[in-house]
Amino acid sequence: MNPNNYLYLSALLFTIGAIGVVVRRNAIVVFMCVELMLNAANLAFVTFSRINGTLDGQVTAFFTMVVAACEVVVGLAIIVAIYRSRRSASVDDASLLKR
């Protein structure tokens, strides 16, 4: 087996996450798909770290995880704030700027 297989898996997971962000309407599910994309990118980082024989990729993946954690905290707080005012977690309903 070639370590490239991990990269293929990473690309697939990233693509699936991207479809989810576009197609799903529940803001929380959209957010989970963003997390999936971040995780897929992390897998690519770890694989490249192994291919190159240096740990820099792993350090970058570590930073990605920290940033993802921040993103989850702020994002979920925004979802809760929107839910409080609009009683809905649907991304279609939050179209206040359109009108």
Binding site: M1, N2, P3, N4, Y6, Y8, L9, A11, L12, L13, F14, T15, I16, A18, I19, G20, V22, V23, R24, N26, I28, F31, M32, E35, L36, N39, N42, L43, V46, S49, R50, G53, T54, L55, Q58, V59, F62, F63, M65, V66, V67, A68, A69, C70, E71, V72, V73, V74, L76, A77, I78, I79, V80, A81, Y83, R87, A89, V91, D92, D93
Partner: protein
Amino acid sequence: MVIQTPEAVMFWILAPLAVISALGMLLVKKAVHSALLLAWVMITLAIFYIAQEALFLGIVQIVVYTGAVMMLFLFILMLVGVDSSDSLTETIKGLRPIAITAAIGFGGLMVALIGRATIGRQPVGLQAANAEGNVQGLAKLLFSDYVWPFEVVSALLITAALGAMVLAHHERTIARPTQRESAIARFRTGSLASAAGLPGPGVFARHNAVDVPALLPDGSPAPTSISATLKARGDMLESSPFQLDVVDTTVVEEK
């Protein structure tokens, strides 16, 4: 670097499972099921990290992602609850075919790119880099070359925590009534009958469950003694069989 057979077997078992669960995440209706499938994808990724000599990241993946992040997601799901956004109907016409076509294009591009690209040498492997241990190697990098990004990321974490506090905070639109004000309101508005509190449920000494209305002195059941929820559900017993003059109260000699 040669990838051993066990790792290949593990990959070919877990990778399809990860892809299937990721697809399932898109297709299942309930957000909670999506969250559980995502947790599974994250666990498989953790196994892949550990298999790829990234022990520390594998553990962090399990602790931070499947532990903290997914817990937070489930927490917010429970808080927000189920609403119409859980349905899978398409609201923007033609969005789904476009999205899937674009995704197939993007995925195909990525796969083709990975298939065609070469780095011009054999994969190295992390034996040398991990010689002192994975955590030690990472720590050395993190506190030398990457010390500035590390500090910036810590500032980001603090900012995110503060941001979440600001977003989650909300001012009361009306002042909270004091105990005195609510006591006055209780006596001035509504009937005086409930001023001292609603009657408790149950027929004294016969049936004191919460689903039996209390009997008033004239023998009629008191509707306010039953919780509105139980009433709405219909989980209510008739209290008339427990009235004193209906119930057989003759004393029987115990044998």
